[in-house]
């Protein structure tokens, strides 16, 4: 009995032992570091283990050999290994490149919005930068590469004039996004409401062959697709009244939107005196309409119309005579219509079609009056240039088509054609571009653009190359090269029809590091202009110039909770010989050093967002040319130093309503410290007096209340600030 029992026991133990084999081993990365948490499983069974902190594992199995292990770990390529019971199995795992974010070609570009992988800013960021007036183009000024220009509109990028940065909406060029230029004042951008767009790219150079006619930069805006629900917005302030509705069809397949804004500085100027004197306006009316519709399974049609009206009448003391005033009056209207269609005609294809119509009319009158504003015509050479009547009507039509083919392995090729038909000229362009993922850490974009002007009967070929190399899990190096062309403004081409296009070459090298809500970016560039417009001694393209510089950007929204800030610094060295410059000079819109700091803090308890922006720029040069184009005087203005402050308090006025309202009370002060800003000087005819070009008033105040119904901007604010 005893023997039997013992036999039983031995047998039992034997079967148990026979079934239970010990599998042991260690999982490491290529450097030999243990991978804690790696999952080891024995194929064909539920047996397995998890690696400990040294990467070691041990488990028992009752399965029969041969043993094949599958090892997986997040961010690594799944590995397999053969194992033998009781003998340590070593498993070395390699990083899985597909777990890393794909390299993004990003030299020269800052992008914002959900659609862009390399997003640096969101629409809400744009709104909440103090002092930008909710204007995308203005907010871009706090990014490196852009100058702090306070006396005229436009983005002055890397030594380029304001006209050299062009704006694109859904792929097509907006010929004139600003209202008629006012002397010594920045003008308003008609098509810049951040809530219209969900993709914003600000490129300071090296951009894609799909875009042309911007010698220095591009502001590429993509309008939103269908809204998620119907909504309405109203807002009122002493300067602005806004009302808009956005209606989503019941079937969710189309939407119709209408919004209108009226702005006037009349009442504001009564409370806060301005120089120049605002006799009329500046007053603006902007009406926008949009229609968006899903077509077929993949298509979306977008129609956007913008009608703008502006009038201003300004009086400024004349520099040559204290008893006289300069009068400037303008009435301008513009209509912009953009129709675009995007679809996926096949699994690997994308087709973008776009068309735009633009109509501008401007009636501008410059003249002189006595102090009582009665017109006068003083005699003398000093005054002859101060009178003009301009009546401009400009129509243009554009069409663009781009076909993209997505290839296996993440490559893509695209080709497109474009026509810009104006009253004076027709510009035809064709372009092709390929994006090649040569390696998981290397992406290359090669493209070329060809443009032909019917008026000058000449064509230009612009090659563009861009490269991105991943240097670490979170960092990459980008490089870009490209040639860029831009036609002179219409009035010069009327004078000299065979004028070739201005030409610039960009060379850009960039390092970007992004980690946990922090971004560091450093970019060096060299830009060479080998053709620039000269207006003296004759109108031709014999001008030239160069710009080089170094820019830094740092943004951190993680270190302090509810606090977000960015710092950008730009160094710029530039000379150019253009327009009426007698010799190559540092242009009067180029400051060598520019620093911007933007900080935002959200105080959750009081639902208030406080934002501050501070910009300083070294003094800009100014020149006084004589009538025969010699430099009579030159110098450097004092440094620019401005602090803007903004508050936005969010609340719900009618929380009991079914569609709870979302209301923002916003207020702000620009140039809080009251620093005197000098952008340049106006000179008298004899050169004996100069008068500074400065802000129309020391400080600028803003207060307003905006209420939206049905749409919850909450998420935007919340997510930007949590």
């Amino acid at each position: 009995m005893k023997t039997f029992c013992l036999l039983c026991l031995t047998g039992l133990l034997a079967t148990y032992n026979a079934n239970a084999q010990q599998i042991i081993g260690r999982v490491t990365d290529k450097s030999g570091r243990g991978l804690e948490g790696a999952s080891i499983s024995l194929n064909g069974t539920a047996d397995g283990a998890t690696a400990d902190s040294t990467g070691r594992f041990r488990f028992a199995t009752t399965a029969q050999p041969p043993y094949r292990l599958t090892v997986s770990y997040i961010g690594y390529k799944t590995a397999t290994a053969d194992a033998r019971a009781g003998i340590e199995t070593s498993i070395v795992m390699g990083k899985d490149p597909s777990s890393l974010q794909p390299v993004v070609i990003s030299a020269g570009a800052f992008s914002a919005g959900d659609k862009n992988k390399g997003a640096v800013m969101t629409a809400m960021d744009v709104v909440s930068v103090a002092g930008n007036g909710g204007d995308v183009a203005n907010a871009a000024r706090t990014l490196p590469g852009a100058q702090q220009i306070g006396e005229r509109e436009g983005l002055f990028v890397r030594g380029g004039a304001g006209m050299e940065t062009r704006q694109f909406v859904d792929g097509t060029l907006v010929p004139s996004p600003y209202f008629a230029t006012l002397p010594g004042l920045p003008q308003f951008n008609r098509i810049s409401s951040p809530f219209l767009f969900d993709g914003i790219i600000f490129s300071t150079g090296g951009y894609s062959a799909a875009y042309g006619q911007g010698l220095s930069g591009a502001l590429i805006l993509e309008t939103q697709d269908l809204p998620e629900k119907s909504s309405a917005v109203i807002g009122i302030s002493p300067m602005v009244a806004v009302a808009g509705v956005q209606k989503l069809a019941k079937n969710g397949k189309s939407s119709l939107g209408l919004s209108t804004r009226y702005m006037t500085w009349q009442y504001y100027a009564k409370a806060v005196p301005q120089n120049p004197e605002y006799a009329t306006g500046p007053a603006y009316s902007i009406t926008e309409a949009n229609y968006r519709m899903k077509t077929g399974k993949t298509g979306i049609l977008k129609v956007y119309a913008n009608f703008g009206y502006h009038e201003s009448e300004l009086y400024r003391e004349d520099i040559d005579s204290a008893a006289l005033l300069n009068r400037f009056a303008t009435t301008d209207r513009n209509l912009y219509l953009n129709i675009s269609h995007r679809s996926r005609p096949g699994e690997h294809w994308r087709l973008d079609l776009g068309g735009a119509l633009n109509y501008n009319s401007a009636d501008i009158s410059r003249g002189m009056t006595n102090i009582d504003k009665t017109p006068t015509h003083p005699e003398g050479a000093a005054y002859t240039g101060k009178f003009s009547e301009y009546r401009g009507r400009e129509r243009s039509l554009q069409g663009k088509a781009v076909l993209t083919r997505y290839l296996e392995g993440g490559h893509l090729i695209l080709a497109g054609a474009e026509a810009q038909i104006g009253e004076l000229d027709e510009l035809y362009a064709g372009f092709a571009e390929g994006e090649w993922r040569l390696h998981h850490a290397l992406a290359l974009r090669t493209g070329a653009r060809w443009e032909y002007s019917r008026l000058s009967q000449s064509g230009n070929l612009a090659p563009r190359v861009s490269l991105a190399v991943r240097t670490g899990a979170r960092s990459q190096i980008n490089a870009a090269y490209g040639i860029y062309y831009q036609q002179a403004e219409r009035r010069w081409r009327m004078e000299a029809p065979s004028l070739p296009q201005a030409r610039a070459s960009h060379y850009i090298l960039n390092y970007t590091r992004k980690e946990n809500g922090r971004i560091f970016r450093a970019e060096g560039f060299y830009k060479h202009y080998d053709r620039l417009l000269k207006t003296y001694p004759s109108t031709d393209m014999s001008g030239s110039g160069y710009a080089n510089g170094l820019e830094m950007f740092w943004r951190d929204k993680k270190s302090i909770s509810n606090f977000d800030y960015w710092v950008s610094y730009s160094y710029l060295h530039t000379r150019r010989d253009h327009l009426n410059y007698p010799v190559p000079l540092q242009p009067d819109f180029a400051s060598p050093h520019t620093l911007s700091v933007v900080a935002k803090r959200f105080f959750e308890k009081i639902s208030t967002n406080v934002n501050v922006s501070w910009s300083v720029a070294a003094g800009r040069p100014y020149y006084d040319f004589t009538a025969n184009h010699e430099i009579r005087q030159q110098g450097t203005t004092r440094a620019y130093n401005v602090v803007n402050l903004g508050f936005a308090h969010m609340l719900s006025l009618f929380p009991k309503w079914k569609q709870k309202d979302f209301t923002v009370i916003a207020c702000g002060v620009n140039n809080v410290l009251g620093t005197r800003q000098v952008f340049g000087y106006d000179f008298s005819y004899n050169g004996q007096t100069k008068s500074p070009i400065t802000l129309p008033a020391t400080r600028n105040y803003f207060i307003g209340i905006f209420m939206s119904l049905g749409i919850d901007r909450t998420e935007d604010y919340l997510n930007d600030n949590l």
Binding site: L9, E36, S39, S41, T45, A119, G517, N719
Partner: protein, 206 residues
């Protein structure tokens, strides 16, 4: 002799018990006690292995997704990769839930909502607008399918608790939801392997 018999009997019991006790049951009870990322990682691996051995049952995949989702909340820097794994696992689990079983589907949708929420919390600034509404949609679906699901009630409370008052956050409402969830957590689970996690977290909020 007696000793040997006892030993043999004990060994027999041990071996058979070892063979019969469901590994899923064991892992589920470990999940109830898990707290550290290492513990959740180990369980995620265990459930995943059980899922590959048992391709017919939704529970192992469901639990693997739960573990990876918990890890995504605990390890924010890896949250996007972890939530992607969880999302893939829960989708496979969903396909295995027998048709018409709304209670189980509510569990699935609750986890789906948790996964989206983990993405929001990983980086509210870039993810909130995209994943917040999806999380809300899944949660509403789960709540509708099973109004008494304690995990859905708990998540509802969690969101209400962490949202500022102005934008629909409500600490009192959150507390009511936590209490309601707690009542249901206190009911014994339908089986030893039925979803039962979340009680400790909910308790902590009260």
């Amino acid at each position: 002799m007696k000793k040997i018999i006892t030993l043999a009997a004990a060994l027999f019991v041990f071996i058979t018990a070892h063979a019969q006790s469901s590994p899923l049951e064991g892992a589920v009870s470990q999940l109830n006690a898990a707290q550290t990322p290492a513990a959740y990682q180990e369980l995620a691996n265990t459930f995943q292995r059980q899922a590959s051995a048992d391709t017919k049952s939704w529970l192992p995949l469901y639990y693997a997704a739960v573990c990876n989702m918990k890890l995504a909340f605990l390890q924010k820097e890896k949250a996007m990769a972890l939530s992607a794994i969880a999302e893939e696992q829960i989708a496979r689990a969903e396909a295995l839930v027998p048709a018409g079983n709304t209670k189980d589907m509510a569990e699935i949708y609750t986890v789906k909502s948790f996964i989206e929420r983990s993405r929001v919390e990983a980086d509210p600034m870039s993810n909130g607008r995209k994943y917040g509404p999806i999380a809300g949609k899944y949660l509403a679906k789960a709540r509708q399918m099973d109004p008494q699901n304690p995990r859905a009630l708990y998540l509802d409370g969690h969101i209400k608790y962490h949202t500022p008052a102005l934008w629909g956050g409500d600490k009192d409402k959150a507390k009511a939801l936590f209490s309601e969830a707690m009542q249901h957590f206190n009911q014994p689970p339908a089986s030893a392997v039925a979803p039962q996690w979340g009680k400790a977290e909910c308790q902590k909020m009260l």
